[in-house]
């Protein structure tokens, strides 16, 4: 429902997975394959040697600072910033309006999503079929969409919940004069298991 980039989520998981897989496989190879161990030892010591001489050669004038350190710090900073942005991007997409009409000769109509949300919540609050409900508005492909999460009472058929919610939605349609796309999410969860089965049907 939100605008989380799921491809990016999977990419991050995949990259970490491949990294761990490569490190693990490398460690196993070092332990079990004799050739790998020798190759690693020579490779590692020559790499450290190269790094050491390179850092000595690239010292910034009049200091003991090597350019290498600066480069390393910059790279780390870039990675940190990317990851922070990645986390920040999660779960966005809430929207404040259910209707934003194009301006015409008579003016422009805007309807706050709070209006639709509280109208629906209010309408659903007294339904015996629903333990609790929550309404929020998201923007999906530039269209506002109402998401109605309803927790069904134990044993109530999803069809009945849909019927109850849609009755409230149709009343809202009537009120607004437009039909906002609606997603209904019917969940069970702890409160369904704990709630008493309603005897009134």
């Amino acid at each position: 429902m939100n605008s989380t980039n799921r491809g990016a989520n999977r990419l991050v998981i995949l990259l970490f997975g491949l990294l761990a897989l490569a490190l693990g496989a490398g460690a196993i190879a070092l332990g079990l394959v004799a050739g790998a161990r020798d190759a690693f030892d020579t490779g590692a010591s020559s790499a450290i040697g190269t790094l050491g001489s390179f850092s000595a050669e690239t010292g910034v004038a009049a200091t003991s600072l090597s350019v290498l350190w600066i480069v390393a710090l910059a790279a780390l900073a870039v990675v940190v910033v990317l990851l922070v942005v990645f986390i920040q991007r999660q779960g966005r997409g809430h929207h404040g309006r259910v209707l934003e009409s194009e301006p015409d000769a008579d003016g422009r109509t805007l309807i706050d999503s709070g209006f639709a949300e509280s109208a629906l919540s209010e309408a659903l609050a007294d339904s015996p079929e629903i333990v609790s409900s929550h309404v929020s508005t998201y923007r999906v492909k530039k269209t506002p969409v109402l998401k109605i999460s309803a927790t069904a009472r134990r044993g109530v058929s999803p069809a009945v919940v849909v019927e109850v919610v849609e009755r409230a939605v149709r009343a809202l349609d009537e009120l607004l004069g437009i039909r906002v796309p609606v997603l209904i999410q019917i969940s069970g969860g702890l409160s369904t298991r704990v709630a008493k089965a309603s005897r009134l049907q």
Binding site: M1, N9, R10, I13, R154
Partner: protein
């Protein structure tokens, strides 16, 4: 006016896991690791004592890792590789949630399997006149299983329950479609 295209997208997103929690946890691990490395570098540049180990010592430790005992290397490698394999699988697997979809004339609907199961249990209990506590139901992607425990000595009308359950599923319009199996426990319970 219908919204078939946005509904399709919505339902697909709602019935698959976004993998957000795991991705965020990994990102935080990455951030902490980077910040630690940066801290050690800065401390080294300032000539202050390192938190755990100076960058050069860390590099030397990694370079001489093959001197660690073989079994330790292999076990640690196996653990890390398994975690990596699991992450790769999680990244690639579809990650379906235990939910079913439904499109009505007005709205798009996602229903937790748990809710469907609970409704089927009640339908079966009504049709077969069994106490609601004597019925268990579970719903997976393609099938629903309803199990009834009879009160000792009282036979259960299995056919009636099975028919009522299947009719409810047929009328529900849930996708993917569900096939039901209604069974009765061989052993009854006294006074259930």
């Amino acid at each position: 006016m219908t919204y078939d295209a946005p509904y399709k997208r919505l339902l697909r997103r709602e019935s698959h896991s976004p993998r957000s929690t795991l991705a965020i946890v990994l990102a935080i691990v990455g951030i902490v690791a980077c910040l630690y490395a940066a801290t050690e570098i800065v401390l080294h540049l300032l000539g202050v004592a390192p938190l755990l180990a100076a960058p050069a010592d860390i590099a030397a430790a990694i370079a001489s890792i093959s001197s660690v005992e073989t079994w330790l290397l292999v076990v640690a490698g196996a653990v890390v590789a398994l975690i990596g394999l699991w992450l790769v699988i999680v990244a690639i697997a579809p990650g379906r949630r235990a939910r079913h979809r439904l499109v009505t004339e007005r709205s798009a609907v996602v229903v937790d399997d748990e809710v469907i199961a609970s409704a089927l249990a009640r339908t079966a209990s009504r049709a077969a006149l069994v106490s609601p506590d004597g019925v268990r139901a579970s719903v997976s992607r393609r099938s629903a299983v309803v199990t009834m425990t009879p009160r000792s000595g009282q036979p259960i009308d299995r056919a009636a329950a099975a028919e009522a359950v299947q009719r409810e599923l047929d009328e529900s319009g849930l996708a993917p479609t569900l096939r039901s199996r209604t069974t009765i426990e061989k052993r009854g319970v006294v006074g259930a």
